[in-house]
Symmetry: C2
Subunit: 258 residues, 2 copies
């Protein structure tokens, strides 16, 4: 499905799956919406922690559109499921946020690792979580991000279970795409970044069990922004939920990584 039709189907409620395998060939993004009073601090936080939060777009206050990412995009309807936080507490997971929209809200679109998974596969890297119809698992690490204003907290990572040669290829290929988190932050030793138990993922979803011939490879994850926004205890903050991402019309970069 092309991204225009996919967004229409999400808006209409006829597409309710995770987006990781939908609209292949197009950039997907994390979504974080904060009141304008905290927007500059949040942008500063993204720039300080760009491996986790590569900034793809920022809306004007009160404008739910991100025309640079897609002409018809409306961040109030184009994500399959949202999380609504008030004072840092999750209060709802709606499928539409038109009734919550205000003239002071600012939307941030942040790069997502789903965007490089297609490129990894195109270069022969086996992504077992995709073969098994699931997504990469996420974990909260013990690595501190660099704070800005009220925003701070631990780095969240996504994990892919890869065979050694694929881990090497994926490291080299992903490094070429800083806008999608770039190179991994860690590999092989979860406990070295504060992950005691791979079976307990952030959000409770995704592939968490390694085969004997696989290593866990960890990339910085845009969900870091959710943690930071909750920790900041903003009166209102809205993000995408789980693997329901913002799907853009921006084609993935083409290239010939070897």
């Amino acid at each position: 499905m092309d991204p225009v039709r996919l967004r229409r189907a999400i808006r209409a409620g006829t597409f309710r799956d995770f987006t990781n395998l939908a609209a292949p060939g197009y950039v997907q993004a994390n979504l974080v919406i904060v009141p304008d009073a905290w927007a500059d601090d949040f942008e500063a936080y993204c720039r300080l922690n760009a491996q986790a939060l590569p900034l793809l777009g920022r809306s004007r206050p009160g404008d739910p559109c991100l025309p640079d990412l897609a002409q018809d995009m409306d961040v109030r309807t184009d994500v399959g499921e949202y999380m609504v936080f008030r004072d840092g507490e999750l209060v709802d997971t709606p499928r539409d946020i038109r009734n919550l929209w205000r003239g002071d809200l600012v939307a941030f679109a942040l790069g997502c690792s789903f965007s490089f998974e297609a490129m990894l596969r195109a270069h022969g890297v086996r992504l077992r979580h995709l073969d098994e119809g699931t997504v990469s698992a996420m974990y909260v690490t013990d690595i501190d991000t660099l704070p800005a204003g009220p925003f701070g907290g631990k780095l969240v990572v996504s994990m892919r279970a890869l065979r050694p040669a694929d881990a090497i290829a994926a490291t080299i290929i992903s490094d070429r795409y800083p806008q999608f988190h770039g190179r991994p932050v860690s590999i092989g030793l979860p406990e070295s970044i504060g992950i005691a138990d791979l079976s307990r993922s952030y959000g409770g979803h995704g592939l968490t069990r390694l085969a004997p011939d696989e290593l866990p490879v960890f990339w910085a994850c845009g969900a870091t922004g959710q943690i930071a926004a909750r920790q900041a205890r903003l009166p209102l903050c809205i993000t995408h939920h789980k693997a329901h991402m913002l799907v853009t019309d921006v084609p993935l970069p083409t290239g010939t990584p070897s």
Copy 2:
């Protein structure tokens, strides 16, 4: 010490150490010498297995010089220790091979991982084996090389014990230098490439014990050529011994890997 003085010291017998930390900033090479009758087959074998055997130079038959690598180089005297094989059996480890030289011998210089270690360190990668005054360990894997003529056999790898973030950086940096073996061939799971016991290295030297926060990272190694030359059971074959490499006047590439 600059490479000209180092070669003189090796020739004179006043430098008897491994070369891995000597003449920093200059390319080092594996040495394999075979009779001319097998030289084309050996070159074909190197080209088929270029990650292990990146060809830096080949001498004319009977000529012990490799002027493209160093004006004054003499492969009969400029390596600290040699291995002499007859019909595939190691018969001697002399410090000079002038008395063995013949009009039909051809010398091959092949890229060596020592050449990228300086670059790894310059980018902040900790190489504990260097801190501890030793070299990287080598292992014979269960990976078959591509045969050419009588040459074939298993791939030999060198291993560096690296922390996860350093393993990632080293993977990306080394990939830029195919002439020095390029990217690693494996990481983290020695048994997946047929290494049952890290403590038993090829040649019995080098750092073999991992710290709890380290992963073993494996690069294709020029010693693959020694295995192949032995397996070919040539009437005569001469190589360098252990970490006594051919030191060239070729400066390491400069660059700004990030």
